[in-house]
Every structure is written in C-alpha cells, then in structure tokens.
C-alpha cells in the first residue's frame, strides 16, 4: 500500500514535466543546461545538431562543466547534503583568481532536464526517497550523456582551438601529439569529450563499478581509441577506467595491448623525436612499457584464464623481454585456444621467431610455414623462411622464398600481411562494441522521455 501511494505521488509530479515543458533556467548553470538539452536530443551514433553543439565547447566550457559534474558527484555522495560549495575554474588571467559557487540539490533536476521534485526543497521525511529517485534519473541521464560525449569525440572534426595544453592533476601541462611513420605532425585536440564522458559515468548509482553499461562503455571506448592508435587518449582514459573497474579482465588486456604498442618502434621513434624539443613523453621507455605490458596481461589472465588473445600477447611480450623458452612454451600452449585465423597466424609467426632464437631451426621453419599457409599473401613468413634458409646456408630455399615474396607484389588484390595490423588486431570488434553501447544508450534515452 505504501509503495503504491508513493508511485502515485511520483507520477503526479512527473507528468507535467514529461510532457515537454522547458526546464526553468538556473542562473549560472546555463552551459550545463544547454549541454543537458543536447544529451536529451542527441540520437546515439549520429553526427547531429546536438552533437555539433557539444563539439563547439571551448576548453573553458569543459573546465567549468567538469567542475560542475565533480561537485554534483560529491553532493550526491554527501548523505543529507542540500548543496555543495566548490571552486569555480575561472579563465586563466581572470580577477579575482578564485571564485566559488554553490550547487543546490533541488536545482539539479532543472539543470539536467529531469523531472523536478519539490520534496528536494524542504525538510521532509521523504527527502531520502526523493534523492534516491533523483540518483536513478541522474544515472540514466549520465549514461546517455556518456554516449553523446563518445559520439562527439569520435565524429567531431579536429579543432585546433582545443589543442592547447591542458593541466592534469600531476601539475604538468599535457599535449596530445599526432604522429605518422615515426614523425610528430603537431598537436591534436585535448581529450575533453572522453574526460566528460568518464566524469558523467562517475555519477552512475549505486556504483559505476557494478554497472554493466559502464563496463561496456569503457571497453568500447578504449577499444575504439586503440583501434585508431590514439594512445594519447587511451592512456589516461584507461587509467580512469581501471580505477572504476579494477577487476575487468578486458580493460587489463587492453592496457597490456596499449603498453606493448607503446613499446613498439612507431611510438618509440616518435617519442625520441620529441625528446629533442621541450616535450617529454610520460609514455615510458620500451623496456618499462614491456614490463608493464607483461604485468597487465598477467593480471587479465588471472581474472579470466580463458582470454586466449591475452595469452598470445603475453607470449610475444615475454619473448621481446628475452625469455625465449618461456615465450615458446606460452605460444605453443595457446595455439589450440585461438579461434581466429589471424591470431593463429600471429602465434605461429612469433613461435617461429622464438624457436629461431633458441636455435631450433627446424621447429622455426615449421612454424613459419604454418603462418604462411594461413595467409599465403603475407610477406613476413616468407621473409623469415628466406632469412632462415640463408642462415642455414641453403641459398636455393632462400631464393625460393624470396621469389614468392617478389611475386606477391604482382598479385591482385594487393597482398595483405596481418603483421601490419598486429597492433590493432585485438580491438577489431570496437565498432560492434560501440554499436552495443549506442543501442543501450538509445534505450536509456527513451526512458528519459
């Protein structure tokens, strides 16, 4: 009986707002309100007007909104709290240098375009219930907001005006650099939309760590960043993701993949080129990255021993760290667990290299041949077969493999070697993961209406 009357009261409150009345303006929160309107109006997966409006945010807008979201999180965490006083990020060079503002709980629904609830204003016994309901609304809203922010981060064209350095908690001015073929090409945009998406999901109740949408959002967005080789974005994003979801095997796996890729020449050469300027990279040396990659992959496997792709990667990383016998053991062991041809190709190729390092040349040759059989148009196994035969003083076989390599360039379509995409192979499903997130976001959005 009690529950039924509560629902009835709630409906009575909701109906007028759900019918589309514009939220009342809240002084000082106009930007957040405009953002909230975009959240409500955006169609997940579309580069639409609401997404364009959010893409036009300046760095100062971003700083202010981030401060608002952090304040809201703290306000909701403060049981019984009616308002939160917090530092306001004034633009650089402003006077006074610091400002404060207050976020009142009863104004939050109007700011976010959620149903207003008078119980949040007064000292009432059902205040806690109202807050709980507000948390549910905010949770739904923030999931939709995270989908919007991911869409903006993915679809928005690069904006140089948000490429200026941004200060992170370590106090250092950070820049994201674009690079190609080992050369830095200039700054990329600051990762404001990824950060806002994360900040939005920090408000998911009862806990982001227990929410499957949050888990999927992080997996999908990290996978997307790694598929685009956006390690400058992925590194802080993954760092936050692992704070929220410390026991997610896929996030540890993605972390291992990212660190293995950071240790690879395309990234290391770029880092070296920056070292001569005033920049330094927090990315770390190849050696340190490989050490951390191994730890991340082992953590992923401890959480999910069936994650065969993590074991494949672990085999390669261990080999790169000079433990060839162990690497060969891991790679041989994982072969039966791999289902994709491309992963079996990698396993055979890497196993061949490890066997060669161990001077087990026949085993190396057999492994390279297995790789070549899986992808006959790939050049890497042919290069290795030729080099191995040359090493064994067998020029005829070396020549045969070389001719097969030369003939590859005369086939149509152009030859493809999965080795060229090894760095992004584990995140090939990023588009599917994003599609799932958007589908869930669309459902949440329907519930908001």
């Amino acid at each position: 009986m009690g529950l039924r009357s509560t629902l009835a009261i709630l409906l009575a409150v909701i109906v007028p707002i759900a019918q589309g009345q514009p939220a009342r303006p809240i002084k000082g929160y106009e930007k957040l309100q405009a953002w909230a309107r975009s959240v409500h109006e955006h169609t997940p997966g579309q580069w639409d007007d609401p997404a364009r409006a959010v893409a036009a945010l300046s760095l100062q807008d971003y700083r202010e909104m981030l401060a608002d979201l952090v304040a809201l999180k703290k306000l909701l965490a403060d049981r019984g709290g009616r308002f939160r006083r917090y530092d306001w990020p004034v633009p650089p060079g402003s006077k006074p240098r610091t400002e404060f503002r207050e976020l009142h709980l009863d104004e939050v629904p109007a700011i976010l375009g959620l149903p207003e609830d008078p119980r949040l204003r007064r000292e009432r016994t059902d205040f806690d219930l109202a807050v709980s309901q507000l948390r549910s609304g905010i949770t739904r809203f923030m999931k939709v907001a995270a989908v919007l922010e991911a869409d903006v981060a993915i679809f928005a064209p690069p904006r140089l005006d948000v490429s200026e350095g941004f200060r992170r908690p370590d106090g250092v001015q950070h820049y994201i650099m674009k690079a190609a073929d080992g050369s830095a090409l200039g700054n990329d945009a600051a990762p404001i939309h990824w950060t806002l998406g994360s900040a939005a999901l920090d408000l998911v109740a009862p806990s982001p760590a227990k929410d499957e949408f949050v888990r999927l959002w992080y997996r999908a967005t990290v996978a997307h960043q790694e598929q685009r080789r956006q390690y400058g974005y992925a590194r802080p994003h993954l760092g936050h993701a692992l704070e929220v979801l410390p026991d997610d095997p896929y996030l540890h796996f993605y972390s291992g993949v990212m660190l293995e890729n950071i240790a690879a020449p395309p990234v290391q050469v770029t880092i070296e080129s920056l070292a001569e300027s005033r920049f330094y990279s927090p990315g770390g040396s190849a050696k340190a990255s490989l050490t951390n990659a191994e730890a991340a992959l082992r953590r992923a496997l401890a959480l999910d021993p069936t994650l065969a792709m993590a074991r494949l990667r672990l085999g390669r990383v261990v080999g790169l760290r000079g433990r060839h016998d162990e690497a060969a053991r891991v790679l041989r062991g994982v072969l039966t667990s791999l289902t994709r041809d491309v992963d079996r190709y990698y396993a055979h190729l890497f196993l061949g290299a490890e066997e060669q390092s161990l001077n087990r040349l026949q085993a190396a040759q057999a492994a390279y041949r297995e790789a070549a059989a899986l992808f006959p148009n790939a050049q890497s196994p042919l290069l290795s077969l030729s080099q191995l035969a040359w090493q064994q003083d067998d020029p005829a076989v070396a020549r045969t493999a070389f001719l097969a390599l030369a003939d590859l360039m005369r086939v149509s379509p152009a030859p493809y070697d999965p080795w060229w995409d090894y760095d992004i192979a584990p995140v090939a499903d990023a588009p599917e993961l994003l599609a799932q997130v958007r589908l869930l976001g669309s459902k949440e959005r329907e519930q908001l209406r």
Partner: protein, 273 residues
C-alpha cells in the same frame, strides 16, 4: 687468363655463398681519392690471422649488380619523392651494358623486383609506378635487397635510401645483419639528417665494408647517388681460396695495402654457417 677466372667465378657463385672462394670488396683511397693502380702484389689479406694468397685483385672486369632499396613511405611524400625517383632513374641509366639492376621499393610493404636485370625499362616503369604508402620497413627491405643482390654472380652493391627510422619491419636488426655477414653484398646507405635510429644502416654498412652518407637535403640526391655508384665502381674485388683456416664460423678479415698513406675500407669479416 683473367676472363676464364671470371667465368668460373660466375658459374660457381650464382646465388650461393662462399664455399671455396672468398671475395672481398675493398675501397682503397689516398687523400680521399680512390687508388686505381693496384695489383695482387699490393694487397695483404689475413683470414682469421692467416695470410692468404690472392687469386685476383681488380675493379674493371666484373659486371656490377646494383640494387636500389628506396624508402617510399609516407614521410617521403612530395618533392623528396620526385627527387628520389630522379636519383633512382639516374643510377639505372648510369649502369653499363653488362651491369644488372634491381629495385626494392618499400613503405610498410616491401616490393622487390623479381630478379636482377639488364632490362632497365622494366625497372624505370617500376620506379615510376610505386606510390608512397604507409610506414617504413627498412630492415625487411634491406634483407630483400641482400637476397636480390646475391641472386647473380658479380659484385653487388645495395644502395639504400631512407629518411626515417624503421617502424614496421618484421625481421629484426640482428637477423638482417647476420644475413649481410653471410653475403658478398656491400651496403651503402643514404639517410637524411632528420632520419632517426640510423644505427642499423651504419652497422650493416660497416659489416659489409660499405658506408653511410648523411644528407641535409634531397635536392642533390641524384648527384650523391651517382657519386656513390662511381665510388663503388672503383673498389677492388679481391678473391682467394682460404687456406689454413677452419671452414665454418666467423672469419675475421684484415686487409692491408702495401702503399704509403693508403686507406682501406673492407668488411671486417664473413660468416660461414
């Protein structure tokens, strides 16, 4: 007598590695100018410390195999690519009728010509047809160049150009340098001053008795390529049948010229098995 020896050399060494005859490519200069009047009697070669008897020393009897390994990766786009093509065409045009040429064009993928050929037109077409693409597979391309250069008898030069560091190879530096030590190919490198991680090219050039030229601009790439080709033509080819040394393993070479102020550049050794 000399032509007969060369014929035997051609038959015996086609895509094979030294078994009975060791060939050493040597640059001898005085005051930075190549010396051209040396004979067998002027050279002293030690194989693992054991003095050897030379069968031959000369530079004008054996046709050249010249392989160009050219970086066509993303970073070469624009004017440098045009200059690189011009330089490549110039080298092909400068080959003599008995010489053979080969190409290895590389970005992420490595595209070698199938064989060394005296038919320049085919190579000219290949050079013009390749667009810049992807990253830099310098080590893979260098290995392909070594294989191509070893595919025919004769003196083989691998002239490699890159403006960047290797970012995409499958083969490792050690594997390719090991292959170079087992071949007779001499590697010359041309790198732009902005190129990073040039250690690989320097090491392989050193291991094969070649050298690396660092350039500040690609505007005179043609002139630089032609000068290197000319320098290579004036290197001496020495050959001997090893005596008093074990066949397998690493052979340390020590080449001296019994002339005052002569400077010698030769590979430091070779690997058998």
């Amino acid at each position: 007598m000399r032509p007969l020896f060369v014929v035997l050399l051609l038959l015996g060494l086609q895509f094979s590695k030294r078994v009975d005859v060791v060939r050493v490519d040597v640059l001898v200069t005085r005051d930075r100018a190549p010396m051209r009047d040396l004979s067998v009697a002027d050279f002293e070669v030690r194989d693992n410390g054991v003095l050897q008897t030379l069968d031959y020393a000369g530079f004008d009897d054996v046709a050249l195999n010249v392989v160009l390994a050219l970086d066509m990766s993303h970073s070469v786009e624009g004017q440098p690519l045009a200059e690189l093509r011009e330089a490549g065409h110039a080298v092909l045009d400068a080959l003599k009728s008995a010489d053979r040429g080969g190409l290895v064009l590389f970005g992420t993928a490595v595209a070698p010509s199938r064989e060394l050929t005296a038919q320049r037109s085919e190579l000219h077409r290949m050079l013009d047809g390749q667009a810049t693409r992807g990253q830099t597979s310098l080590m893979d391309a260098t290995f392909a160049g070594l294989m191509l250069g070893s595919s025919e008898a004769g003196r083989s030069l691998l002239l490699t150009f890159t403006d960047g560091a290797d970012t995409a190879s499958w083969l490792t530096e050690d594997a390719v340098i090991d292959a170079a030590k087992r071949s007779d190919v001499v590697v010359y490198g041309v790198v732009t001053a902005s190129a990073r991680r040039t250690g690989f090219l320097r090491d392989i050039a050193s291991a094969t008795g070649g050298s690396v030229l660092e350039i500040t601009s690609t505007s005179d790439l043609k002139g630089q390529f032609l000068r290197l080709l000319e320098e290579y033509r004036l290197r001496y080819l020495l050959s001997y049948t090893p005596r008093g040394v074990a066949r397998d393993g690493w052979h340390r070479l020590d080449v001296k010229v019994k002339r005052p102020f002569a400077t010698v550049k030769a590979r430091p050794g070779y690997q058998n098995r």
